[in-house]
């Protein structure tokens, strides 16, 4: 069965520091992978997605993620975090033969000035 694991429930970083949020997935075939961000009171906004091709994908707001098949990972990175990046981040997996997205439990990012 498909599953997504986000091992870090809560991460705190200083503004300007680099960031990496971890995501591991379990899926038999080639997955479609997504990162969503949820700010308080807002819906889930798509940051970036991976379907195929280049394993390093660029997204909005300066985020990038790298698909590593050997590690079943799709970690989200940002070189320099801004205070406005404080939010909840969700990794999700989808597939061609299904409509649904399978989400991880999310990582709450707190940014200190």
């Amino acid at each position: 069965a498909q599953s997504v694991t986000q091992p870090d429930i809560h991460i705190t970083v200083s503004e300007g520091a680099s960031l990496e949020l971890r995501c591991n997935y379990s899926y038999g075939a080639t997955p479609y992978l997504f990162w969503y961000v949820q700010s308080p009171g807002q819906g889930l906004q798509l940051l970036l997605k991976y379907f195929s091709g280049d394993t390093l994908v660029q997204g909005i707001k300066g985020f990038e993620a790298e698909f590593k098949r050997s590690q079943s990972s799709f970690n989200l990175r940002k070189p320099s975090v801004h205070w406005s990046d404080a939010a909840e981040y969700f990794c999700a997996v989808g597939a061609q033969d299904t409509d649904k997205l399978i989400f991880g439990t999310g990582t709450r990012l707190q940014v200190f000035p």
Binding site: Y32, G43, L44, A95, D99, K100, L101, G106
Partner: protein, 115 residues
């Protein structure tokens, strides 16, 4: 920029009561979804809807749940007899096409509290 909207933002109801959660998807989208997130847990898929019928549903989506697109713009989720464990944030989503390269756009959610 077009967006998915949901009403109400917060609904409080008594156990056993019926609730209807409303969503207005993006106007040219054809595929519609409901997800829910119990506090502290992951976002879970409930149901997908296309061409006026359910295309996929999870085991959570039992006979107490139903969905409808009554007027070509709204997309509703009805819970017939709410239970305490239905308390959650409910997200509506829509997308234009079914392929994975078609992004699912999510609404801000309705927080349902069952007392």
């Amino acid at each position: 920029e077009p967006e998915v909207t949901q009403t109400p933002s917060h609904q409080v109801t008594q156990m056993g009561q019926e609730v209807i959660l409303r969503c207005v998807p993006i106007s040219n989208h054809l595929y519609f979804y409901w997800y829910r997130q119990i506090l502290g847990q992951k976002v879970e898929f409930l149901v997908s809807f296309y061409n006026n019928e359910i295309s996929e549903k999870s085991e959570i989506f039992d006979d107490q749940f139903s969905v409808e697109r009554p007027d070509g713009s709204n997309f509703t989720l009805k819970i017939r007899s709410t239970k305490l464990e239905d308390s959650a944030m409910y997200f509506c989503a829509s997308r234009f096409g079914r392929g994975a390269n078609n992004e699912q756009f999510f609404g801000p959610g309705t927080r349902l509290t069952v007392l």
